[in-house]
């Protein structure tokens, strides 16, 4: 568990206990069997929403095909009972296992895709399964009753018992979700949702984190489906693999509040009774009313409060509380840490002799364009190397190849003798290479401290150490006062510094800074230069891309000049700026001719 979230967790668990008990008391006053069924279905759909929320809410991987898992759970329980006489008590866990397996099988290929493609592909799975089920002849399967030993087969004459089980399952799901929310796994998912590339550059293995979230989500979805089948006693492909099932998870979660434990619960508590009641009252005249209600609900939510009821209510009526938000619990710890000892200097790790970074003959082409071509250079420990060159010279591509965002066509790059190429972005980060981006890639809705903690987690720090490191990094860049503010509220300079702190929190040996000074005014520029100079005093090795020549003259020990992907010149700043070919690349032949004349 992350440091300092204990009280947050405790508070939520108390709320959970109170709400569950109140809900169960409510069932005692309901005797109409149809309303009792609704009371049972609310927690089932809420659980399904919670399951969707783990993948698509926290992780941001929008899935329109969660019915796959729901249906697998439902059919496992039903078919196991029909063919093997297996009690649902065991069928539901079996379905859970199969749901997890399905998640692996679905995730392996599908996580190669992002955004639109991912959302659409997920849609195809349940529909393909639906047709296969029809083909196999499972159009409508009902569960046989076992009057002789009802308890052993999860059969109860008293419908309230089903509600009780449903509530217990939901409580389990909420607890899992709460733990994820307050764990480093949850923070990694939030980071991936907000900016996958930045998360990877901070050392998070995005693909395996996403896979874990899909597995948890798939298992939970299968439980919801399995129990749903038990309650309704009959399954059809449409009722468990159909589009409306997938939509249900999306709708209740978005309506209630995305990326919040309580969102799906609130959404299901409002929408399920509403839609079911309308269906019962008006279904004969208006047969599709349920779907219409869901459609109107999600459109209204998207237009009026895109994050869902929970967040809107929190922001509007609990503003005082919300201003502290997620960060309040963290900032206590941060404050404690800030009062402590001064930041420890970054001490270079003992290393073999020779340069820290050695790049040889590196090339990368896009089709016919050789963006980086046979680039060789080296950086010594404790040095600041400036990479300069006109627009399109291949500077950012060079960084992208070095930290594994792009693959290299040829050449080698070694960090302290270890090969860097061919590794994934997060692996390069864990070797000790920190990176910032030309366009700041922050996690705008996370507080500054959490943004930086992500960097420490990515590098494999323990919970306590991560906070210490993050606080230290914030002090190094002078942002300690802004630790609790959401990153989206920072100024451009502060964002640049925060990104720098995130890279520092990973205890890097080498920093790759991509135009850290871009878009800053002169004074802001001086501030950032001051921070970088201090880092050098502490022994940090930095490789920086920059356009602003005068700033670079003050900062860099050596220059590498790139033009059209090639190294044009290397050497001391004074020498390089006098170099004729460099002047030509920057200012053109005419200018050079005039100077020489």
């Amino acid at each position: 568990m992350r440091q300092g979230v204990g009280s947050h967790l405790r508070r939520n668990l108390i709320v959970l206990a109170v709400v569950s008990v109140a809900y169960l008391l409510l069932t005692l006053f309901v005797s109409n069997s149809y309303y009792q069924l609704i009371l049972t279905l609310v927690p089932v759909w809420a659980l399904f929403g919670v399951s969707w929320n783990i993948l698509s809410g926290y992780g941001g991987q929008l899935s329109f095909g969660h019915a796959s898992f729901f249906g697998i759970g439902a059919y496992t329980v039903t078919l196991a009972l029909v063919y093997w006489n297996l009690s649902p008590w065991l069928g539901i866990p079996l379905g859970m296992v199969l749901g997890g397996l399905a998640a692996v099988l679905i995730g392996l290929p599908t996580f190669r895709l992002r955004g639109h493609y991912f959302a659409l592909s997920m849609l195809a799975y349940p529909l393909a399964i639906l047709y296969v089920m029809q083909y196999l002849g499972f159009q409508e399967v009902s569960m046989p009753m076992h009057r002789e030993s009802p308890l052993a087969y999860m059969e109860f004459a008293e419908p309230r018992v089903y509600t009780l089980i449903a509530v217990l399952l939901l409580v389990g799901g909420v607890v899992v979700s709460l733990f994820i929310e307050s764990s480093r796994f949850g923070l990694a998912l939030l980071a991936i949702r907000q900016n996958e590339l930045a998360a990877e550059a901070a050392g998070i293995d995005a693909r395996s984190e996403k896979m874990r979230s899909l597995i948890v989500s798939g298992m939970m979805g299968a439980v919801a489906g399995g129990f749903y089948a038990r309650v309704l006693l009959v399954v059809t492909p449409e009722s468990v693999f159909g589009m409306l099932v997938s939509a249900q998870a999306v709708v209740v979660t978005l309506f209630g509040g995305v990326a919040s434990v309580w969102g799906p619960v609130i959404g299901a508590a409002i929408l399920v009774p509403l839609a079911e009641t309308l269906q019962a009252e008006l279904g004969t005249y208006l047969p599709g009313i349920q779907g219409v209600v869901y459609g109107v609900a999600i459109i209204a939510v998207m237009l009026l409060s895109p994050d869902g009821l929970y967040w809107t209510i929190r922001d509007r009526w609990l503003r005082r509380d919300a201003s502290q938000g997620v960060s309040d619990v963290q900032s206590d710890v941060a404050a404690a840490a800030l009062d402590g000892k001064p930041p420890a200097p970054v001490r270079p790790v003992a290393h073999a002799s020779g340069p820290l970074l050695q790049v040889e003959g590196l090339s990368r082409a896009f089709g016919g364009l050789r963006a980086v071509s046979e680039v060789s250079f080296s950086i010594a420990e404790g040095e600041i190397l400036g990479i300069i060159g006109p627009n399109g010279a291949g500077k950012t591509t060079l960084f992208n190849v070095l930290n594994g965002v792009l693959s290299a066509d040829e050449g080698s790059a070694r960090l302290d003798g270890q090969p860097m190429l061919g590794r994934k972005t997060h692996e390069v980060c864990r070797m000790g290479v920190g990176r910032t981006f030309q366009v700041v890639r922050s996690f705008p809705r996370l507080p500054v401290l959490d943004n930086v903690i992500v960097g420490a987690y990515g590098a494999g720090a323990s919970d306590h150490e991560a906070i210490t490191r993050a606080v230290r990094a914030l002090r190094q860049v002078g942002l300690q006062d802004r630790a609790a503010v959401a990153a989206g509220q920072l100024t451009n300079k502060q964002l640049r510094l925060m990104e720098l702190a995130r890279a520092l929190a990973g205890n890097p040996r080498l920093l790759l800074l991509d135009e850290t000074l871009a878009g800053l005014g002169r004074e802001e520029c001086d501030d950032v230069l001051g921070v970088l100079a201090r880092l050098r005093e502490q022994g940090m090795t930095i490789c920086i891309i920059e356009h602003t020549m005068h700033a670079m003259m003050r900062l860099a020990d050596r220059f590498v000049v790139l033009d059209h992907g090639r190294v044009l010149a290397t050497g001391l700043p004074r020498v390089v700026v006098e170099d004729a070919s460099v002047i030509e690349a920057y200012l053109g032949k005419k200018w050079l001719a005039r100077r020489d004349a």
Partner: protein, 318 residues
């Protein structure tokens, strides 16, 4: 299997693939246009297809306005009449719903507003589908034309094989190709087309050049809706349908658009043709229930193996 039957089946699959494929192609252009110009994945495109079918049905069948044109002309005129109706509907959808989660409003925002767009169009899809059930009922209907049960016979050809060309599909094929060509000319050679393409390339720059990007997007969404609706009207002459028919075709549309290279409007046409072929050939070897599953599998394979499409090149660069 006898060689003769095999040859006959293959030849028939080829001709059916071409005719149905081009109708699918037209259908895919609608989705491809909306994605290509606005970068929106419209989840409700299948429902626009469905609406096209029902517009045609209500105009043509059972003694309504267009039935005076007779069973030969009526259904195809009806299909074309679906275009202005659904164009208007699409433009209204954009005006009141889609524009609020897309366009200049979301340029540069977190994930460019994709999340919101997918959700809003999912909502529209649910409302149209289920609202359609309330309005139109769930009994399958069709736009009746005697052409759908008549065929030209070509042959006997090689080994006595005969090719059957369903007349309804053949006429629908010609209308589809004409509509696609008309759209092509509009987009390539008219002022409107240039405005649309400019808004697609760079909405911000287009605004500076005096193009009303919001209006361009509205027209694009309307055009995309109308085009798909025409395809729906054409298909209504040879299939029967319910308000839930959109679902069977939305995946075909996605497959076609992805195959054609997302963003390439006319790539989508060829993508649709390819899917038509795959579907007709899968009918040779698969039982009918699995044909739909086959399309999903093909779709997944396309997305996984060649997300940049068969005809397109990946526009993304890290």
């Amino acid at each position: 299997m006898d060689l003769e039957i095999l040859v006959e089946n293959v030849l028939n699959a080829v001709t059916a693939g071409i005719t149905i494929g081009c109708i699918y192609g037209l259908m895919c252009i609608g989705l491809g246009l909306i994605f290509g110009i606005m970068r929106i994945v419209n989840f409700a495109q299948g429902e626009l297809l469905m609406l096209g079918m029902f517009v045609s049905f209500y105009l043509v069948s059972e003694g309504r306005i267009l039935s005076a044109l007779g069973p030969y002309w009526g259904p195809f005129i009806g299909a074309m009449c679906a275009a202005p109706a659904i164009f208007a509907g699409g433009a209204l959808l954009h005006r009141f719903l889609i524009s609020r989660v897309s366009g200049l409003r979301t340029v540069g925002s977190l994930d460019e507003g994709h999340f919101g767009q997918l959700i809003v169009t999912l909502g529209i899809s649910l409302i149209l589908q289920n609202g359609g059930q309330i309005l139109f009922g769930s009994t399958p209907v069709a736009v009746r034309t005697p052409l759908s049960s008549e065929a030209f016979l070509i042959g006997p050809l090689y080994h006595g094989a005969t090719v059957f060309l369903n007349k309804a599909k053949l006429v629908a094929f010609f209308v589809a190709v004409l509509a696609a060509v008309a759209l092509y000319v509009t987009l390539e050679y008219t002022r409107l087309g240039k405005a649309l393409r400019a808004s697609a390339d760079n909405p911000t720059a287009a605004t500076y050049m005096g193009i009303d990007v919001d209006r361009a997007y509205r027209i694009a969404f309307g055009l995309g809706s109308g085009i798909t609706a025409v395809a729906g009207g054409l298909m209504a002459t040879y299939i029967s349908f319910t308000p839930f028919v959109g679902f069977d075709y939305v995946i075909i549309m996605y497959s076609g658009v992805v195959l054609g290279g997302m963003g390439s409007i006319f790539g989508a046409f060829w993508g649709g043709v390819t899917v038509g072929f795959v579907q007709q050939f899968s009918a040779l070897i698969l039982p009918p229930q699995l044909q739909n599953a086959a399309i999903f599998v093909v779709f997944l394979m396309i997305v996984l193996l060649r997300p940049q499409g068969l005809f397109g090149r990946s526009a993304e660069r890290a």
